[in-house]
């Protein structure tokens, strides 16, 4: 099945099964992308994993994207699922607001999500509801902010010995 056919097949199945749970879908480079409602994320994942034909049994990676300009949907969570036998790869996305960064945990389906979600909690402060051990992983436990959010500059803003304004973002 080529990417376009995979996109339409899954789109039709999700639309029939979850209705408004699927917001939209498109092809981004070589990846079919499905944008979902947060509430239906785990159910969609469960369906994709347990459906004998699709069988997305492998969670490749997940990550957060911070979009401060996207008011009301400041955080995007991205999940990449993989069916190794048929080599299907898809990407799921949900958006959450910065006032309500609660996302259901994927560890119930994929144990591999454990550390990946801890990493996203560590850097973006996404609260994974139901995660067995949600604490910081790469940064020190005493840290009181989420450093990968866009509002934190990469360097200490009080430094005066460097002037990078010409080349800064």
């Amino acid at each position: 099945m080529d990417k376009q056919a995979l996109l339409t097949t899954i789109h039709d199945q999700l639309k029939a099964k979850f209705g408004d749970g699927l917001v939209s879908s498109h092809l981004d480079y070589d990846f079919p992308v499905f944008i979902l409602q947060r509430e239906s994320l785990i159910e969609v994942m469960r369906f994709l994993k347990e459906d004998p034909e699709l069988n997305f049994h492998f969670l490749t990676t997940l990550c957060t994207i911070h979009l401060p300009e996207n008011k009301g949907k400041e955080f995007c969570m991205m999940y990449q699922l993989h069916n190794m036998a048929k080599n299907y790869r898809i990407r799921l996305k949900i958006f959450v607001s910065q006032n309500d960064t609660v996302v259901p945990t994927a560890t119930v389906l994929y144990p591999a999500a454990n550390w990946m979600e801890r990493q996203e909690y560590d850097f973006f402060g996404i609260n994974f509801k139901g995660h067995p051990n949600l604490k910081r992983i790469l940064n020190m436990d005493e840290m009181n902010y989420f450093p990968m959010r866009k509002e934190y500059p990469v360097e200490d803003g009080s430094r005066e010995d460097k002037d990078d304004t010409m080349f800064g973002r």
């Binding site: 480079y29 049994h57 490749t60 990407r91």
Partner: protein, 408 residues
């Protein structure tokens, strides 16, 4: 037996404590224990020499590469990728170049792709040399380590002849290779191909069928295929568990589809299988390098991507357009399309993926590394539970956990 003696024995039996009443000792293994080959801390709950629980602490060499990458132009991110899995940095470099090439839609000439394949397979061999010889060292065989490390040294000399650096290579450029292989590099590659097989065979005869080595590694730290998939294993560790997934075959990149090679798989997923999978992969990599050299096409060694590829110096001094491109690349002012790409390569430890979000600016909007070590190391407590401490050390070296890749 006297009644008194029998009573004493009965009391002794009663004295064996139930698990919940037992007193366990806590052992702090690491962060800088010489046997862990890197900065890893494990807090172990021990019952004598048996591990009851393990809690790994990671992040000791976290360097915030994902954050730094959001503030660097694309060509300046390559040196960051060097420092992920520093045992096979060329693979990381190539993975990053290919991700950007996918984003900008560049086509790379065959010759550059074949050159990349040679470099990546050499890097894979050097990565597997480190892992396998260290397994041998941890089982008590120092000799093999010393013999094979000479050849790793030769691989580093090849990298030095190609790009000038040894460990953190920054090899290749977005759009191809920075220069063609020099005659010195070709001579060294030839020497490696001629002489390495004998050394590898010697190592094989020294270690693989050694009784002590087999007794120590077979059935040690086993991982079933189900567990490996659930915990996101990829690479040699997944193949040792019996799943034949290899990115080079599943999603061929850089002309891997042109080569004929086998994917060795194991059955038990134990230390011996992981060792054997890596060992066989070294032979397959040798085969790929030979095929690449034999079928090496002529032509340019870089693609036509003037926005990213530095023009030759004579051009810069004599040609206005080249000077402009040179300035723009050095100052990091290239036009990049908007979009999101994911590209994965088969690294030394598994699927090394780059998820890149571009908003059209000079730096990535978001760059996420899928680091195979980070994902499969979380299964470590589960694997070592109930085993001996010495087996835990061996399991860690056979999983080839690299601190740089673990912490990014």
């Amino acid at each position: 037996m006297s009644k008194q003696k029998q009573k004493a024995i009965d009391q002794d039996i009663l004295a064996v404590q139930k698990p919940e009443e037992k007193e366990y000792s806590t052992l702090n293994l690491g962060p800088t224990h010489p046997a862990t080959h890197g900065i890893f801390q494990n807090i172990l709950k021990m019952d004598g020499e048996i591990i009851v629980e393990a809690e790994p602490t990671v992040g000791y060499i976290h360097r915030a590469f994902e954050k730094i990458a959001e503030h660097k132009p694309y060509n300046q991110i390559t040196p960051l990728t060097d420092r992920l899995n520093y045992c096979s940095s060329p693979i990381n470099n190539m993975g990053w170049h290919m991700t950007v090439e996918k984003l900008i839609g560049a086509t790379i000439p065959k010759r550059a792709e074949y050159m990349r394949v040679i470099i990546m397979e050499l890097a894979r061999i050097s990565d597997h040399i480190v892992c396998n010889t260290v397994i041998a060292v941890d089982t008590g065989a120092m000799t093999g380590f010393l013999y094979l490390f000479q050849w790793r040294e030769l691989i580093y000399e090849i990298f030095e002849a190609i790009c000038g650096a040894r460990l953190t290579t920054n090899i290749g450029r977005i759009g191809g290779m920075e220069r063609d292989f020099s005659p010195v590099a070709w001579a060294k590659i030839d020497k490696f191909l001629k002489e390495f097989p004998a050394a590898l065979r010697e190592f094989d005869s020294l270690v693989t069928r050694n009784r002590i080595f087999m007794d120590r590694t077979i059935k040690c730290g086993p991982v079933s295929a189900e567990m490996a998939l659930a915990y996101g294993f990829t690479g040699p560790n997944l193949r040792a568990a019996g799943v034949d997934y290899d990115v080079r075959v599943a999603n061929p990149y850089s002309s891997y589809g042109d080569f004929d090679f086998k994917i060795p798989i194991g059955t038990g997923g134990d230390v011996f299988d992981r060792y054997m999978v890596r060992h066989e992969e070294m032979w397959e990599s040798m085969g790929i390098i030979q095929q690449a050299i034999k079928n090496m096409p002529d032509g340019p060694f870089h693609g036509d991507v003037p926005d990213f590829y530095l023009p030759p110096k004579e051009e810069v001094y004599n040609n206005m357009e080249a000077l402009i491109y040179h300035f723009k690349i050095v100052m990091g002012e290239m036009d990049v399309p908007k979009g999101e790409v994911y590209h994965a390569v088969e690294g030394g430890n598994g699927e090394l993926g780059f998820f890149l979000v571009s908003d059209g600016a000079r730096t990535p909007y978001r760059l996420h590394f899928r680091r195979p070590c980070f994902i499969y190391y979380q299964a470590y407590p589960e694997i070592v539970k109930g085993g001996m401490l010495s087996d835990a050390i061996l399991t860690m070296s056979s999983m080839n956990v690299i601190a740089g890749e673990l912490d990014a």
